[in-house]
Symmetry: C2
């Protein structure tokens, strides 16, 4: 029983690290977005710098998960939980990379007046953050309903993204003098659409943990 208890504690620790990583990714997206909206170059640089922390945490989770696998030789749901942690931390790292990309876009546009209000990007960012929280909760609580909600929200983000693409390209063909910023906004639109895809992958990992078979929530 003590052995099992130790193992449960280790799984708990793994989840704590995942939650921490998720919070850092959310903070990266929020800060990068603010940096873009307010043309705050210093904040953008900080997002890029702080990404190292997220990379280190992913490395830590991987090492810990491998150590746990070698030590405990887990099977079934326990093994799925550990593999899930490895996969999910890799998805979170990718999401945080999009935060870095948005920060780099902020630096590229510099001090031009922001055209972000032309788009649905802010709503997309908010939806992504909400989705990420739900997806991680779904894995930790083994709650399939939350995982399915994430899949539904991905459709909403895709709709926003299509709409934003049309708005921006139409505006671009009428205002070629704004090319620089509009191209960066098109990139951000793409990053957020991909962010939602990666979060959906996290929800699929949660569904795999819970049900023991692959789900397509997309």
């Amino acid at each position: 029983m003590v052995v099992r208890e130790n193992f449960e504690n280790s799984l708990q620790e793994l989840q704590t690290k995942m939650t921490e990583m998720g919070e850092l990714a959310i903070s990266s997206l929020e800060k990068a977005f603010t940096a873009f909206k307010t043309q705050d170059i210093e904040l953008a640089l900080r997002v890029i710098e702080e990404d190292n922390e997220i990379d280190d945490l992913e490395e830590e989770i991987n090492q810990f998960a491998i150590w746990l696998t070698v030590k405990e030789q887990p099977v079934a749901r326990d093994l799925r939980k550990i593999i899930g942690a490895i996969k999910i931390s890799s998805e979170i790292e990718r999401i945080a990379d999009f935060g870095v990309n948005i920060a780099k876009s902020a630096i590229k546009i510099g001090s031009e007046h922001s055209l972000i209000s032309l788009t649905q990007l802010e709503s997309m960012k908010d939806a992504c953050i909400n989705m990420l929280q739900k997806a991680l909760q779904s894995f930790i609580d083994e709650n399939i309903v939350l995982a399915k909600e994430v899949g539904d929200m991905d459709d909403v983000v895709d709709e926003y993204s299509n709409e934003t693409y049309k708005q921006l390209t139409t505006y671009l063909s009428e205002h070629p003098e704004e090319t620089n910023q509009l191209v960066q906004l098109l990139f951000i639109n793409r990053y957020l659409e991909r962010t939602a895809d990666h979060i959906t992958n996290i929800a699929e990992s949660a569904a795999y943990l819970i049900k023991g078979r692959r789900y397509d929530l997309n």
Copy 2:
């Protein structure tokens, strides 16, 4: 001795799967690029469909690597090799995703006359394929010289990418009627630049295997 031989065979099998995955990713990039250049929608659809094969192979490599870790409890270089395989297969999967993205861009532009000759994109694609072959060879042969060459080539791709970005945005501000295709070309420029980054990560995994410490080849 027989145990060691079995383990060596298993590592060999892991590398064979990685090589296969690498070849599929290269084929995905080549086909997607041809589809874009020649406006071949059917070929583009095939690239998207065939991506499942690459995803399955990644899953197979992960399962095999975990099974091998649990069974053999490897340490030092052996463990680094197995973890390297997991990391590299995840990078290859991301690279193949860019192939899918290019294929989707091909579908989006449909039958417009190709403006790709305005750019360095073809050279970037060729450089990426060359880099990927070198990076995988570097891991398999434990050849640090090849890994460093990949890092140097990444700088070349970055230069091409900056140049292409400028060419395309300048052309775009003068030809707003071509917005649709030019935006897709800007995306492809971004995908290829990121592809080279992911290949550099593979070379860094190879360097870590060989030297036992982290290298920054970027």
